[in-house]
Protein backbone atom coordinates (compact mmCIF):
# COMPACT_ATOMS: atom_id res chain seq x y z
CA UNK A 1 0.00 0.00 0.00
CA UNK A 2 3.10 2.26 -0.08
CA UNK A 3 2.11 3.85 -3.36
CA UNK A 4 -1.50 4.46 -2.41
CA UNK A 5 -2.43 8.12 -2.71
CA UNK A 6 -6.20 8.11 -2.34
CA UNK A 7 -8.71 5.53 -1.23
CA UNK A 8 -12.42 6.31 -1.37
CA UNK A 9 -14.72 3.68 0.11
CA UNK A 10 -18.53 3.57 -0.07
CA UNK A 11 -18.88 7.34 -0.25
CA UNK A 12 -22.32 8.93 -0.05
CA UNK A 13 -23.26 12.59 -0.38
CA UNK A 14 -26.70 14.24 -0.37
CA UNK A 15 -27.68 17.85 -0.93
CA UNK A 16 -30.76 18.70 1.16
CA UNK A 17 -33.18 16.57 -0.86
CA UNK A 18 -31.09 15.13 -3.69
CA UNK A 19 -28.79 12.18 -3.49
CA UNK A 20 -25.66 13.10 -5.47
CA UNK A 21 -23.03 10.48 -4.67
CA UNK A 22 -24.08 6.93 -3.92
CA UNK A 23 -21.65 4.25 -2.88
CA UNK A 24 -18.62 5.62 -4.73
CA UNK A 25 -15.42 3.59 -4.25
CA UNK A 26 -12.02 3.75 -5.92
CA UNK A 27 -8.30 3.68 -5.20
CA UNK A 28 -5.54 5.72 -6.80
CA UNK A 29 -1.84 4.90 -6.75
CA UNK A 30 1.10 7.17 -7.41
CA UNK A 31 1.16 8.18 -11.07
CA UNK A 32 -2.48 7.33 -11.78
CA UNK A 33 -4.55 9.66 -13.94
CA UNK A 34 -8.23 9.48 -13.01
CA UNK A 35 -10.71 10.96 -15.43
CA UNK A 36 -14.17 11.71 -14.05
CA UNK A 37 -16.99 11.62 -16.58
CA UNK A 38 -20.61 12.57 -15.99
CA UNK A 39 -23.41 14.93 -16.94
CA UNK A 40 -23.83 18.35 -15.30
CA UNK A 41 -24.94 17.89 -11.70
CA UNK A 42 -23.86 14.23 -11.65
CA UNK A 43 -21.47 14.83 -8.78
CA UNK A 44 -18.06 15.34 -10.47
CA UNK A 45 -17.29 18.67 -8.84
CA UNK A 46 -18.93 17.55 -5.60
CA UNK A 47 -16.49 14.64 -5.35
CA UNK A 48 -13.52 16.97 -5.91
CA UNK A 49 -14.83 19.40 -3.29
CA UNK A 50 -15.24 16.56 -0.80
CA UNK A 51 -11.63 15.44 -1.33
CA UNK A 52 -10.54 19.08 -0.86
CA UNK A 53 -12.58 19.25 2.36
CA UNK A 54 -14.69 22.13 0.98
CA UNK A 55 -17.79 19.93 1.40
CA UNK A 56 -18.41 17.38 4.17
CA UNK A 57 -19.65 13.91 3.16
CA UNK A 58 -22.49 11.98 4.74
CA UNK A 59 -21.20 8.43 4.83
CA UNK A 60 -18.15 6.47 3.75
CA UNK A 61 -14.42 6.64 4.19
CA UNK A 62 -11.66 8.62 2.52
CA UNK A 63 -7.97 8.05 3.04
CA UNK A 64 -5.50 10.57 1.65
CA UNK A 65 -1.81 9.67 1.68
CA UNK A 66 -2.68 6.89 4.16
CA UNK A 67 -4.39 9.27 6.58
CA UNK A 68 -8.06 9.72 7.37
CA UNK A 69 -9.26 12.81 5.42
CA UNK A 70 -10.44 14.58 8.59
CA UNK A 71 -6.91 14.35 10.03
CA UNK A 72 -5.09 15.26 6.84
CA UNK A 73 -3.17 18.54 7.26
CA UNK A 74 -0.40 18.51 4.62
CA UNK A 75 -2.16 20.96 2.30
CA UNK A 76 0.94 21.40 0.17
CA UNK A 77 0.64 17.80 -1.06
CA UNK A 78 -2.52 18.70 -2.96
CA UNK A 79 -2.80 21.09 -5.88
CA UNK A 80 -6.13 22.36 -7.16
CA UNK A 81 -7.05 24.04 -10.43
CA UNK A 82 -10.65 25.11 -11.03
CA UNK A 83 -12.41 26.82 -13.96
CA UNK A 84 -10.74 29.96 -12.67
CA UNK A 85 -10.03 31.73 -15.92
CA UNK A 86 -13.75 31.89 -16.54
CA UNK A 87 -14.81 33.64 -13.36
CA UNK A 88 -11.63 35.63 -12.83
CA UNK A 89 -11.84 39.34 -11.99
CA UNK A 90 -9.55 40.78 -14.66
CA UNK A 91 -9.38 44.22 -13.00
CA UNK A 92 -7.60 42.87 -9.90
CA UNK A 93 -4.15 44.51 -9.84
CA UNK A 94 -1.93 41.47 -9.25
CA UNK A 95 1.14 40.24 -11.11
CA UNK A 96 1.78 36.65 -12.17
CA UNK A 97 4.54 36.54 -9.53
CA UNK A 98 2.17 37.64 -6.75
CA UNK A 99 -0.53 35.16 -7.77
CA UNK A 100 1.73 32.13 -8.16
CA UNK A 101 3.88 32.73 -5.08
CA UNK A 102 0.82 33.16 -2.87
CA UNK A 103 0.33 29.40 -2.92
CA UNK A 104 3.70 28.87 -1.23
CA UNK A 105 1.73 29.59 1.93
CA UNK A 106 1.01 25.89 2.38
CA UNK A 107 4.79 25.32 2.62
CA UNK A 108 5.71 28.43 4.61
CA UNK A 109 2.83 29.21 6.99
CA UNK A 110 2.06 32.46 8.77
CA UNK A 111 4.41 35.49 8.79
CA UNK A 112 7.22 33.84 6.76
CA UNK A 113 8.79 35.89 3.99
CA UNK A 114 9.68 34.73 0.47
CA UNK A 115 13.30 33.76 -0.16
CA UNK A 116 15.61 33.55 -3.18
CA UNK A 117 14.85 29.84 -3.33
CA UNK A 118 11.15 30.69 -3.70
CA UNK A 119 12.02 32.88 -6.69
CA UNK A 120 13.79 29.92 -8.26
CA UNK A 121 10.67 27.81 -7.70
CA UNK A 122 8.60 30.50 -9.40
CA UNK A 123 10.86 30.46 -12.46
CA UNK A 124 10.74 26.67 -12.59
CA UNK A 125 6.96 26.36 -12.51
CA UNK A 126 6.43 29.18 -15.01
CA UNK A 127 8.86 27.42 -17.30
CA UNK A 128 6.92 24.17 -16.85
CA UNK A 129 3.69 25.77 -18.05
CA UNK A 130 5.37 27.68 -20.88
CA UNK A 131 4.95 31.09 -19.25
CA UNK A 132 8.59 31.97 -18.48
CA UNK A 133 9.23 35.71 -18.53
CA UNK A 134 5.65 36.61 -17.56
CA UNK A 135 6.47 37.15 -13.85
CA UNK A 136 5.77 40.87 -13.80
CA UNK A 137 2.76 40.94 -16.12
CA UNK A 138 -0.65 41.80 -14.68
CA UNK A 139 -2.66 38.58 -14.63
CA UNK A 140 -5.79 40.40 -15.82
CA UNK A 141 -4.01 41.36 -19.05
CA UNK A 142 -3.35 37.76 -20.10
CA UNK A 143 -5.58 35.63 -22.32
CA UNK A 144 -7.91 33.03 -20.75
CA UNK A 145 -5.57 30.20 -21.74
CA UNK A 146 -2.51 31.99 -20.34
CA UNK A 147 -4.36 32.75 -17.09
CA UNK A 148 -5.28 29.11 -16.70
CA UNK A 149 -1.64 28.07 -17.23
CA UNK A 150 -0.71 30.56 -14.49
CA UNK A 151 -3.25 28.92 -12.18
CA UNK A 152 -1.70 25.54 -12.97
CA UNK A 153 1.71 27.04 -12.09
CA UNK A 154 0.23 28.33 -8.84
CA UNK A 155 -0.96 24.82 -7.97
CA UNK A 156 2.47 23.39 -8.86
CA UNK A 157 4.64 25.78 -6.84
CA UNK A 158 3.88 24.00 -3.55
CA UNK A 159 5.22 20.80 -5.23
CA UNK A 160 2.03 18.76 -4.80
CA UNK A 161 1.86 15.00 -5.26
CA UNK A 162 -1.82 14.98 -6.17
CA UNK A 163 -3.32 17.46 -8.63
CA UNK A 164 -7.11 17.92 -8.74
CA UNK A 165 -8.52 19.70 -11.76
CA UNK A 166 -12.17 20.63 -12.16
CA UNK A 167 -12.82 21.28 -15.86
CA UNK A 168 -9.59 23.26 -16.26
CA UNK A 169 -10.14 23.86 -19.97
CA UNK A 170 -13.60 25.44 -19.78
CA UNK A 171 -13.74 28.82 -21.51
CA UNK A 172 -10.29 28.39 -23.03
CA UNK A 173 -9.57 28.56 -26.78
CA UNK A 174 -8.77 25.36 -28.71
CA UNK A 175 -5.03 26.03 -29.04
CA UNK A 176 -4.72 26.68 -25.29
CA UNK A 177 -6.73 23.53 -24.52
CA UNK A 178 -4.09 21.48 -26.33
CA UNK A 179 -1.26 23.30 -24.53
CA UNK A 180 -2.93 22.74 -21.16
CA UNK A 181 -3.62 19.05 -21.86
CA UNK A 182 0.03 18.59 -22.97
CA UNK A 183 1.23 20.19 -19.71
CA UNK A 184 -1.05 17.93 -17.64
CA UNK A 185 0.06 14.78 -19.52
CA UNK A 186 3.72 15.74 -19.04
CA UNK A 187 3.17 16.21 -15.29
CA UNK A 188 1.52 12.80 -15.15
CA UNK A 189 4.43 11.27 -17.06
CA UNK A 190 6.78 12.71 -14.43
CA UNK A 191 4.86 10.78 -11.78
CA UNK A 192 2.23 13.20 -10.55
CA UNK A 193 -1.14 11.68 -9.64
CA UNK A 194 -3.97 13.52 -11.35
CA UNK A 195 -7.73 13.69 -10.94
CA UNK A 196 -9.53 15.58 -13.65
CA UNK A 197 -13.11 16.28 -14.68
CA UNK A 198 -13.78 17.30 -18.26
CA UNK A 199 -16.81 17.36 -20.53
CA UNK A 200 -14.69 16.10 -23.43
CA UNK A 201 -15.08 12.33 -22.93
CA UNK A 202 -12.84 11.11 -25.80
CA UNK A 203 -10.00 13.39 -24.59
CA UNK A 204 -10.35 12.15 -21.03
CA UNK A 205 -10.42 8.51 -22.17
CA UNK A 206 -7.24 9.21 -24.17
CA UNK A 207 -5.18 10.76 -21.38
CA UNK A 208 -6.31 8.86 -18.27
CA UNK A 209 -5.50 5.36 -17.10
CA UNK A 210 -8.52 5.13 -14.79
CA UNK A 211 -12.04 6.40 -15.18
CA UNK A 212 -14.86 7.17 -12.81
CA UNK A 213 -18.09 7.31 -14.77
CA UNK A 214 -21.19 8.81 -13.21
CA UNK A 215 -23.97 7.10 -15.20
CA UNK A 216 -27.12 9.04 -15.99
CA UNK A 217 -29.19 7.13 -13.46
CA UNK A 218 -26.78 5.19 -11.38
CA UNK A 219 -23.80 5.07 -9.12
CA UNK A 220 -20.25 5.99 -9.99
CA UNK A 221 -18.61 3.21 -12.00
CA UNK A 222 -14.89 2.91 -11.49
CA UNK A 223 -13.11 1.34 -14.44
CA UNK A 224 -9.67 0.89 -15.81
CA UNK A 225 -9.40 2.66 -19.13
CA UNK A 226 -7.28 -0.05 -20.76
CA UNK A 227 -10.22 -2.37 -21.26
CA UNK A 228 -12.57 0.18 -22.81
CA UNK A 229 -13.12 2.13 -26.00
CA UNK A 230 -14.77 5.57 -26.06
CA UNK A 231 -17.98 3.94 -27.38
CA UNK A 232 -18.01 1.53 -24.46
CA UNK A 233 -17.46 4.39 -22.00
CA UNK A 234 -20.40 6.22 -23.56
CA UNK A 235 -22.52 3.08 -23.18
CA UNK A 236 -21.69 2.87 -19.46
CA UNK A 237 -22.41 6.59 -19.12
CA UNK A 238 -25.81 6.13 -20.78
CA UNK A 239 -26.58 3.12 -18.58
CA UNK A 240 -26.69 0.74 -21.56
CA UNK A 241 -23.87 -1.37 -20.25
CA UNK A 242 -22.81 -2.30 -16.77
CA UNK A 243 -19.15 -2.65 -16.09
CA UNK A 244 -18.17 -5.15 -13.46
CA UNK A 245 -15.47 -4.06 -11.08
CA UNK A 246 -12.20 -5.83 -11.71
Amino acid sequence: MDNEILNVKNLYFDYTDTSVLRDVSFTLKKGDFLGIIGANGAGKSTLIKIILKILPFNRGEINLFGEDLSKFKDNFKIGYVSQKANSFNSDFPATVREVVMANLYSRKGLFKRYTKEDNEKLKKVLDKVGMAGFENKLIGKLSGGQQQRIFIARALISEPELLLMDEPTVGVDAKSVKQIMDIICELNKQGMTIIMTNHDTPELVRVSNKLLIFCEHGNGEFVSRNDLTVAEVNDIFAGKRVHHHA
Binding site: L52, Y80, A94, T95, A102, R113
Partner: protein, 269 residues
Protein backbone atom coordinates in the same frame (compact mmCIF):
# COMPACT_ATOMS: atom_id res chain seq x y z
CA UNK B 1 10.59 76.55 9.77
CA UNK B 2 7.31 77.26 8.03
CA UNK B 3 4.87 79.32 10.06
CA UNK B 4 2.33 76.52 9.96
CA UNK B 5 4.64 74.24 11.98
CA UNK B 6 5.24 76.78 14.75
CA UNK B 7 1.92 75.89 16.32
CA UNK B 8 1.69 72.84 18.55
CA UNK B 9 -1.79 71.94 17.31
CA UNK B 10 -0.60 71.93 13.68
CA UNK B 11 2.38 69.71 14.54
CA UNK B 12 -0.03 67.27 16.17
CA UNK B 13 -2.43 67.51 13.23
CA UNK B 14 0.34 66.73 10.75
CA UNK B 15 1.66 63.80 12.75
CA UNK B 16 -1.80 62.28 13.12
CA UNK B 17 -2.65 62.94 9.46
CA UNK B 18 0.55 61.34 8.19
CA UNK B 19 -0.17 58.20 10.23
CA UNK B 20 -3.79 58.01 9.06
CA UNK B 21 -2.72 58.45 5.44
CA UNK B 22 -0.53 55.35 5.78
CA UNK B 23 -3.00 53.07 7.54
CA UNK B 24 -6.18 54.02 5.62
CA UNK B 25 -4.88 52.72 2.24
CA UNK B 26 -3.09 49.74 3.88
CA UNK B 27 -6.43 48.49 5.12
CA UNK B 28 -8.39 50.06 2.26
CA UNK B 29 -6.67 48.00 -0.43
CA UNK B 30 -8.02 44.58 0.65
CA UNK B 31 -11.39 46.13 1.53
CA UNK B 32 -11.81 47.79 -1.87
CA UNK B 33 -10.53 44.80 -3.84
CA UNK B 34 -12.96 42.52 -2.01
CA UNK B 35 -15.74 44.92 -3.02
CA UNK B 36 -16.51 45.70 0.60
CA UNK B 37 -16.07 49.47 0.32
CA UNK B 38 -19.44 50.08 2.00
CA UNK B 39 -18.11 48.53 5.23
CA UNK B 40 -16.06 51.70 5.77
CA UNK B 41 -19.28 53.72 5.75
CA UNK B 42 -21.15 51.41 8.11
CA UNK B 43 -18.20 51.38 10.51
CA UNK B 44 -17.75 55.15 10.48
CA UNK B 45 -21.41 55.72 11.32
CA UNK B 46 -21.11 53.31 14.21
CA UNK B 47 -17.91 55.08 15.26
CA UNK B 48 -19.94 58.27 15.40
CA UNK B 49 -22.36 56.61 17.82
CA UNK B 50 -19.32 55.66 19.91
CA UNK B 51 -18.11 59.26 19.84
CA UNK B 52 -21.50 60.48 21.06
CA UNK B 53 -21.46 57.77 23.72
CA UNK B 54 -17.99 58.87 24.82
CA UNK B 55 -18.99 62.52 25.03
CA UNK B 56 -22.08 61.58 27.01
CA UNK B 57 -20.20 59.46 29.54
CA UNK B 58 -17.15 61.66 29.69
CA UNK B 59 -14.74 59.05 28.29
CA UNK B 60 -12.46 59.87 25.36
CA UNK B 61 -14.59 59.96 22.18
CA UNK B 62 -11.97 58.15 20.06
CA UNK B 63 -11.90 55.33 22.59
CA UNK B 64 -15.70 55.22 22.37
CA UNK B 65 -15.42 55.13 18.58
CA UNK B 66 -12.96 52.21 18.68
CA UNK B 67 -15.28 50.19 20.96
CA UNK B 68 -18.44 50.88 18.92
CA UNK B 69 -16.87 50.32 15.53
CA UNK B 70 -15.31 47.02 16.62
CA UNK B 71 -18.76 45.92 17.84
CA UNK B 72 -20.14 47.10 14.47
CA UNK B 73 -17.76 44.97 12.37
CA UNK B 74 -18.53 41.89 14.45
CA UNK B 75 -22.24 42.72 14.01
CA UNK B 76 -21.78 42.96 10.23
CA UNK B 77 -20.00 39.60 10.15
CA UNK B 78 -22.77 38.00 12.19
CA UNK B 79 -25.60 39.49 10.11
CA UNK B 80 -23.86 38.56 6.85
CA UNK B 81 -24.29 34.94 7.81
CA UNK B 82 -27.99 35.50 8.56
CA UNK B 83 -28.69 37.10 5.17
CA UNK B 84 -26.60 34.67 3.10
CA UNK B 85 -26.39 35.85 -0.50
CA UNK B 86 -28.00 39.20 0.37
CA UNK B 87 -25.16 39.92 2.78
CA UNK B 88 -24.93 43.62 1.80
CA UNK B 89 -28.11 44.08 3.86
CA UNK B 90 -25.94 43.54 6.96
CA UNK B 91 -23.85 46.61 6.13
CA UNK B 92 -26.93 48.79 5.72
CA UNK B 93 -28.53 47.50 8.94
CA UNK B 94 -25.40 48.28 10.97
CA UNK B 95 -25.04 51.69 9.32
CA UNK B 96 -28.68 52.51 10.13
CA UNK B 97 -28.19 51.40 13.71
CA UNK B 98 -25.13 53.64 13.96
CA UNK B 99 -26.92 56.71 12.59
CA UNK B 100 -30.01 56.06 14.73
CA UNK B 101 -27.98 55.65 17.88
CA UNK B 102 -25.96 58.81 17.14
CA UNK B 103 -29.16 60.81 16.62
CA UNK B 104 -30.67 59.57 19.88
CA UNK B 105 -27.49 59.98 21.95
CA UNK B 106 -26.76 63.47 20.57
CA UNK B 107 -30.04 64.66 22.07
CA UNK B 108 -28.68 63.95 25.55
CA UNK B 109 -25.27 65.56 25.15
CA UNK B 110 -25.49 68.80 27.09
CA UNK B 111 -21.88 69.89 27.04
CA UNK B 112 -19.54 69.33 24.17
CA UNK B 113 -22.19 69.12 21.45
CA UNK B 114 -19.94 71.26 19.28
CA UNK B 115 -17.34 68.58 19.86
CA UNK B 116 -19.61 66.01 18.22
CA UNK B 117 -19.91 68.36 15.29
CA UNK B 118 -16.12 68.48 14.98
CA UNK B 119 -16.07 64.69 14.68
CA UNK B 120 -18.64 64.75 11.87
CA UNK B 121 -16.50 66.85 9.54
CA UNK B 122 -13.09 66.65 11.17
CA UNK B 123 -11.05 69.18 13.06
CA UNK B 124 -7.37 69.96 13.42
CA UNK B 125 -7.45 72.26 16.38
CA UNK B 126 -9.11 69.81 18.73
CA UNK B 127 -6.55 66.97 18.91
CA UNK B 128 -5.58 66.34 22.52
CA UNK B 129 -2.25 64.82 23.59
CA UNK B 130 -4.05 61.63 24.61
CA UNK B 131 -5.66 61.35 21.16
CA UNK B 132 -2.33 61.92 19.47
CA UNK B 133 -0.66 59.14 21.49
CA UNK B 134 -3.68 56.87 20.92
CA UNK B 135 -3.42 57.46 17.17
CA UNK B 136 0.31 56.72 17.20
CA UNK B 137 -0.14 53.47 19.14
CA UNK B 138 -3.15 52.24 17.13
CA UNK B 139 -1.58 53.40 13.88
CA UNK B 140 1.62 51.50 14.57
CA UNK B 141 -0.42 48.38 15.45
CA UNK B 142 -2.36 48.60 12.15
CA UNK B 143 0.88 49.11 10.18
CA UNK B 144 2.74 46.25 11.85
CA UNK B 145 -0.17 43.80 11.49
CA UNK B 146 -0.68 44.81 7.84
CA UNK B 147 2.99 44.17 7.13
CA UNK B 148 3.19 40.90 9.05
CA UNK B 149 0.07 39.55 7.35
CA UNK B 150 0.88 41.04 3.94
CA UNK B 151 1.03 37.77 2.01
CA UNK B 152 -1.97 36.30 3.82
CA UNK B 153 -4.06 39.43 3.20
CA UNK B 154 -3.17 39.34 -0.48
CA UNK B 155 -4.01 35.65 -0.88
CA UNK B 156 -7.36 35.90 0.93
CA UNK B 157 -8.28 39.04 -1.03
CA UNK B 158 -7.33 37.58 -4.40
CA UNK B 159 -8.79 34.09 -4.00
CA UNK B 160 -10.44 33.13 -0.74
CA UNK B 161 -11.11 29.53 -1.73
CA UNK B 162 -7.53 28.84 -2.84
CA UNK B 163 -6.12 30.48 0.27
CA UNK B 164 -8.33 28.31 2.45
CA UNK B 165 -7.10 25.20 0.61
CA UNK B 166 -3.50 26.28 1.20
CA UNK B 167 -4.23 26.40 4.93
CA UNK B 168 -4.58 30.16 5.47
CA UNK B 169 -6.83 30.77 8.52
CA UNK B 170 -9.28 32.75 6.37
CA UNK B 171 -11.85 33.39 9.10
CA UNK B 172 -9.23 34.87 11.42
CA UNK B 173 -7.65 36.97 8.65
CA UNK B 174 -11.06 38.37 7.66
CA UNK B 175 -11.83 39.21 11.26
CA UNK B 176 -8.45 40.93 11.74
CA UNK B 177 -9.08 42.97 8.57
CA UNK B 178 -12.44 44.08 9.93
CA UNK B 179 -11.05 45.04 13.35
CA UNK B 180 -8.17 46.97 11.71
CA UNK B 181 -10.76 48.79 9.58
CA UNK B 182 -12.71 49.70 12.71
CA UNK B 183 -9.58 51.01 14.44
CA UNK B 184 -8.50 52.98 11.36
CA UNK B 185 -11.92 54.56 10.97
CA UNK B 186 -12.01 55.54 14.64
CA UNK B 187 -8.63 57.23 14.81
CA UNK B 188 -9.19 58.98 11.49
CA UNK B 189 -12.56 60.41 12.49
CA UNK B 190 -10.81 63.17 14.46
CA UNK B 191 -9.12 64.84 11.49
CA UNK B 192 -11.04 63.74 8.41
CA UNK B 193 -14.42 63.41 10.13
CA UNK B 194 -16.51 60.30 10.61
CA UNK B 195 -18.70 61.11 7.63
CA UNK B 196 -15.74 61.25 5.27
CA UNK B 197 -13.25 58.69 6.50
CA UNK B 198 -14.52 55.94 4.22
CA UNK B 199 -13.59 58.11 1.25
CA UNK B 200 -10.01 58.29 2.52
CA UNK B 201 -10.05 54.50 2.65
CA UNK B 202 -11.48 54.13 -0.87
CA UNK B 203 -10.34 57.08 -3.05
CA UNK B 204 -6.55 56.65 -2.80
CA UNK B 205 -6.91 52.92 -3.55
CA UNK B 206 -9.29 53.57 -6.47
CA UNK B 207 -6.76 56.08 -7.86
CA UNK B 208 -3.85 53.67 -7.41
CA UNK B 209 -5.73 50.84 -9.14
CA UNK B 210 -5.85 52.88 -12.33
CA UNK B 211 -2.10 52.94 -12.81
CA UNK B 212 -0.60 50.27 -10.53
CA UNK B 213 1.22 47.34 -12.10
CA UNK B 214 0.94 45.03 -9.08
CA UNK B 215 -0.82 44.57 -5.74
CA UNK B 216 2.22 45.88 -3.88
CA UNK B 217 2.37 48.94 -6.10
CA UNK B 218 -1.35 49.53 -5.51
CA UNK B 219 -0.75 49.82 -1.77
CA UNK B 220 2.37 51.98 -2.13
CA UNK B 221 0.73 54.36 -4.61
CA UNK B 222 -2.43 54.54 -2.49
CA UNK B 223 -0.32 55.54 0.54
CA UNK B 224 1.48 58.14 -1.56
CA UNK B 225 -1.81 59.59 -2.85
CA UNK B 226 -3.39 59.59 0.62
CA UNK B 227 -0.36 61.48 1.99
CA UNK B 228 -0.62 63.93 -0.87
CA UNK B 229 -4.34 64.61 -0.25
CA UNK B 230 -4.06 64.94 3.53
CA UNK B 231 -0.94 67.11 3.62
CA UNK B 232 -2.23 69.38 0.84
CA UNK B 233 -5.63 69.49 2.57
CA UNK B 234 -4.07 70.51 5.89
CA UNK B 235 -1.98 73.24 4.26
CA UNK B 236 -4.98 74.62 2.40
CA UNK B 237 -7.25 74.60 5.45
CA UNK B 238 -4.57 76.41 7.44
CA UNK B 239 -4.00 79.18 4.93
CA UNK B 240 -7.54 79.58 3.55
CA UNK B 241 -9.94 80.92 6.20
CA UNK B 242 -12.94 78.75 7.15
CA UNK B 243 -11.82 75.84 4.99
CA UNK B 244 -12.44 72.60 6.89
CA UNK B 245 -9.60 70.06 6.61
CA UNK B 246 -11.75 66.90 6.30
CA UNK B 247 -13.81 68.15 3.41
CA UNK B 248 -10.76 69.65 1.69
CA UNK B 249 -8.82 66.36 1.94
CA UNK B 250 -11.71 64.34 0.51
CA UNK B 251 -12.48 66.82 -2.28
CA UNK B 252 -8.81 66.94 -3.30
CA UNK B 253 -8.95 63.14 -3.53
CA UNK B 254 -12.10 63.18 -5.65
CA UNK B 255 -10.67 65.82 -8.01
CA UNK B 256 -7.44 63.83 -8.34
CA UNK B 257 -9.40 60.64 -9.07
CA UNK B 258 -11.48 62.34 -11.77
CA UNK B 259 -8.40 63.86 -13.43
CA UNK B 260 -6.56 60.53 -13.28
CA UNK B 261 -9.48 58.65 -14.81
CA UNK B 262 -9.64 61.16 -17.66
CA UNK B 263 -5.88 60.87 -18.27
CA UNK B 264 -5.75 57.08 -18.18
CA UNK B 265 -9.07 56.85 -20.01
CA UNK B 266 -9.72 53.67 -18.15
CA UNK B 267 -13.27 52.41 -18.22
CA UNK B 268 -14.31 50.06 -15.48
CA UNK B 269 -17.03 47.56 -16.11
Amino acid sequence: MLEIFQYGFMQKAFLVAVIIAVIAPCIGTPIVLKRLSAIGDATSHSALAGIAFGLLLGINPILGAVIFSVIAVFGIELLRRVFGKYSEIATVVVMSAGIGLTAVLSGYITKGSSNLNSFLFGSIVAISDFEMYLTIVLGVIVMVVSMLLYKELFFVTFDEEASKLAGVPVGAINMITMVLTAVTVSVASRIVGALMISSLIVIPVASAMMIAKSYKQTILLAVLFAELFTIAGLFMSYYIPDLRPGGTIVLLGVIFLVILSVITGKRRR
